[in-house]
Symmetry: C2
Subunit: 96 residues, 2 copies
Amino acid sequence: MNEVFKALSDPTRRKVLQLLGRGEMSAGELAGHFDVSKPSMSHHFAVLKDADLVTTRREGQQIYYALNTTVLQDVVARIWDLFGVEPKPSGGGGEP
Amino acid sequence: MNEVFKALSDPTRRKVLQLLGRGEMSAGELAGHFDVSKPSMSHHFAVLKDADLVTTRREGQQIYYALNTTVLQDVVARIWDLFGVEPKPSGGGGEP
DNA sequence: TCGATAATTAGACGGTCGGCTAAATATCCG
DNA sequence: CGGATATTTAGCCGACCGTCTAATTATCGA
């Protein structure tokens, strides 16, 4: 659980997750969205994978990353549980 | 928003929030639950306050901390929004 | 097999973070 | 006011984190 929060604490990694929300993407394609070297991005990917927030799939030379939505749902559920706060009446948070 | 995630990335601060889930508590009483010096704890409190995750109230010499549940709800709501994932059908994820 | 491309691993460097002690501030009570 | 208690601020230090370049691994196509 700690690894998850650590993973989420970096803006770059959160943006990666955000991009993956639109569908899976290769490491290079993903890295193209940032002003950071590919090795640095690769490190971020490793952190996300270690936290089990993303899954990987190799297709030829490329490696495709995708959101692990199951874990993401668990994360949010755990946050409520952790703080012992009553969740909002309907839906996890569509309405602002 | 970044400050919130940074604040949540530390286990000590998360446990503080967890304790506050049971109700407000003074700084000293809160610090008593940890093996960390009071100044260090005070720093953690400041981080949580800066992220707007807690509120403070002075009563005599003591300062009472309490969860800012409104912001916590917003945080979780934003997580869903950020990642563009469908929330669980009923409730924000209260039931495991 | 050889060369090109995609991605990761290795190692180094600067900045941030969490911890401490000592000192300062705020409040209460006699 | 003066002393005691509660909390925060100031300043320092070691460890961890994010970044980079250079080198390594894996795969494809000719």
